[in-house]
Amino acid sequence: MLIWEIIKVAMSALHANKMRSTLTILGIIVGIFSIISISTVISMMQTSIEEGVSALGKNTFQLQKWPSVRTGSPEERAKIRNRRDITVEEYYKLRDKLDGTAKYVGGEQWNFGVRFKYRREETNPNISVCGSTPEAFPNNNWNIDTGREFGYKEINSVEKVVVLGSDIAEKLFEFIDPIGQEVWMDNHKLTVIGVLESQGDVFGQSQDNFAIVPISTWQSFFGKRNRSVNITIQSFDKAGYDDLIETSEGFFRTIRKVPPGEENDFSIRSNENMLRQINDITAGFRIGSFVISGIALLAAGIGIMNIMLVSVTERTKEIGIRKAIGARKKNILFQFLVESITLCLIGGIVGIILGVVTGNVLGSMLEFNAVVPFDWIMIGVSLCVLIGVSFGTYPAYKASNLDPIESLRYE
């Protein structure tokens, strides 16, 4: 096979000049390492953010008063501030209209900064408490670890029951079963009926520092009108998801009496548009660091070109002989291209491994979750080939264009 022959020639050439090949490869290793380690840290950061914001369940979106990312001109912000709160009545109306169209329609209201007590144990006064309907559990990925969740029975009878996040349960009930115990939430007495599974950390910040009570009970504590209701809606399957967003938007506009042609007076939050917004915000940062870390790779590419040129000069005679016994231009071209690509690939693979490891070490120091950035590994490999081709082409072209007579005579 001709190709094997060419690759063998290239490899033996690399082998013959060990020192030179090692230094050239070292340049590529550093260049690729620079790009890969930086992008690994950035994609770790990205996934950590994404895990933090994509807290909604599968195929779920949320209608809320506030947009998830607050940007825009002062006028737009003022307009948003003036939106009416979403009320529980509006929630119930929407739930009735979506009956049969959506899988779950949940409502929830939040209050921040309460303290839980059990006998002598108490938490810090930084617990969030959510008043919700039963559908909020599947919509938010809240899974019960022990005990049970509440249903409409508890909501209708305004029962003082609570489902605790795992942090609170751990803090208050170290050695006893929390189910059935009575706890104090500030000055309200509640019975624990369930504990949630842990949802893990985001940026070292616990996601389990909250408790859930029936929405009616919440309103009896904190008042009916002082917080906007968030409505979470889950579709039956992925296929119906986009349609459901549109249907719900339409229904909710009717319920809120938004005139045709006016903008929505509520925001739609879905995992997808959250991710998109985050990507928009971080795009500049990512491009900037890619360019800066790519500078080293450029320098390495120039190094390759230089050493390939030397290699062509040194092997002028060899090229002359190969041509004299019938090698074609494209064979010579291919030989030198393969040589430079091989150099780049060897350096690239080592650089990628070093980069991913270093990136993960750095990232875990910053409390990001570990990640193997397959996309960046692919980009790294393609970059190697690209560098090998683009900086190897000129020397290879020069070699292939040598006149056999001249080069045989070359001393």
Partner: protein
């Protein structure tokens, strides 16, 4: 000595000849160094720019000041729910402190609120409004573009007068003429008595004096925000930065008395200083600095590897030449010097060109981030590039100098 100089001269001449003999090779090698030096110098100027911006931001606080507040500004050791439960500092606390304090040069209370300021059809939305007394200006380094701060009479009487920060004045009065005009806050007309000079402390965000307005605190209590709404901050200026510690000690003692704390109670107030902010900033800038210089340093490293590689090639190609030089009496150090000066020359040229490009780049960056190439950057570029040349050239040069003249003469 003269012999050494002769060898150096000879070495430089030979290396220049060698560099010119292989133009394409030299250009590419230099290019690697140019890129490296350019990246490092540009990055260090950009970082310098960021640092300057931060320092300017902090400077608007003044290094001679302490701020007595309910909240701890920069330190997060105490959990917020404990700070939240502290009693607000009110005007009575302030007056008691002011009457008792001996050391400070100036003491002024301040309370902020967020309001929209209007002027005819122009508005600035939700800016920081500082309510304070006439002494406030004595606690700051602020200077005036036009007009003055409000005086004691206006301050005590809670008159409807206002001092605008530079950006606010620009926004409300794009054509000038702010002084003496009226603006509206929450429906109340206020007369503009002064406009501050531009401070450029954009890192402070909403707390940048350019984005704030100042009005008498009594006016604020009457029309904008109740006294009990939030804690006031007591701004205290010491005579100089040496006196700050004493003022701080005195303030702690006096405030404990004013707040009626017994000996076993911990302070229910915080003394804030720009030092806290400086520490945070230095941390941030430090991280940027390390990361930035490390990344760009990598490209310089790659450039150096390129030099080393090409020098090895050069030594190999000129084995015969080295043999002849040695045979006719060249010392090892002459050969070493020859190749070292070749590497150093390439690096120095690359460094100077890289520096030139970096100057151009920094002029472009200057449009977004006030910065300028410092003289130390020029120095740095030259030293780094020379150093790079010597380091990366040493191994090949050493190899060359160790060549056996007999073998090298025979080399084909």
């Amino acid at each position: 000595m003269s012999r050494f100089l002769f060898e150096l001269k000879e070495g430089v001449i030979i290396s220049l000849k060698a560099i010119f003999a292989n133009k394409a090779r030299s250009v590419l090698t230099t290019l690697g160094i140019i890129i490296g030096i350019w990246a490092v110098i540009t990055m260090s100027t950009a970082i310098k720019g960021i640092d300057i911006a931060f320092q300017d931001g902090v400077a608007s606080l003044g290094s001679d000041n302490i701020y007595i507040d309910k909240w701890e500004w920069f330190n997060n050791d105490t959990p917020w729910w404990e700070l939240r439960n502290r009693r607000n500092i009110d005007m009575d606390d302030f007056r008691a402190y002011k009457d008792a304090a001996q050391l400070p040069v100036a003491v002024a209370p301040s309370m902020w609120t967020s309001q929209t300021v209007k002027q005819r059809d122009r508005t600035v939305e939700f800016i920081n409004i500082q309510g304070t007394t006439n002494d406030y200006i004595e606690t700051t380094n602020l200077s005036f573009a036009e007009g003055r701060f409000f005086n004691e009479l206006e301050s005590n009487g809670g008159r409807a007068v206002i001092v605008l920060g530079w950006d606010i004045a620009e926004n409300l009065f794009p054509n000038g003429g702010a002084l003496g005009s009226t603006v509206k806050v929450k429906g109340h007309k206020l007369k503009v008595v002064g406009v501050l000079e531009e401070q450029g402390s954009w890192v402070m965000g909403n707390w940048n004096p350019d984005n704030q307005v100042y009005l008498p605190i009594e006016f604020m209590f009457k029309y904008l925000q109740r006294e009990s709404f939030r804690s006031i901050t007591i701004n205290v200026r010491a005579e100089n930065s040496i006196a700050v510690e004493e003022v701080k000690e005195e303030a702690i003692g006096l405030m404990r008395r004013v707040r009626g704390l017994t000996y076993d109670e911990i302070n229910d107030f915080s003394i804030n200083q720009q030092e806290g902010l400086l520490n945070e900033i230095n941390q941030t800038v430090g991280v940027i600095q390390i990361a930035g210089l490390f990344i760009t340093g990598l490209s310089l490293f790659v450039g150096a590897i390129g030099i080393m590689n090409i020098m090895f090639v050069s030594v190999k190609e000129r084995t015969r030449e080295i043999g002849i030089r040695k045979a006719i009496g060249a010392k090892r150090r002459a050969i070493l010097g020859q190749f070292l000066s070749e590497a150093a020359t390439i690096c120095l040229m690359g460094g100077l060109i890289g520096l030139g490009i970096a100057v151009v780049t920094s002029i472009i960056i200057d449009r977004f981030l006030p910065t300028s190439i410092q003289i130390d950057a020029v120095f740095l570029a030259i030293v780094i590039s020379l150093f790079t040349g010597l380091i990366s050239g040493f191994a090949p040069a050493y190899t060359a100098s160790k060549l056996d003249p007999v073998d090298s003469l025979r080399y084909e």
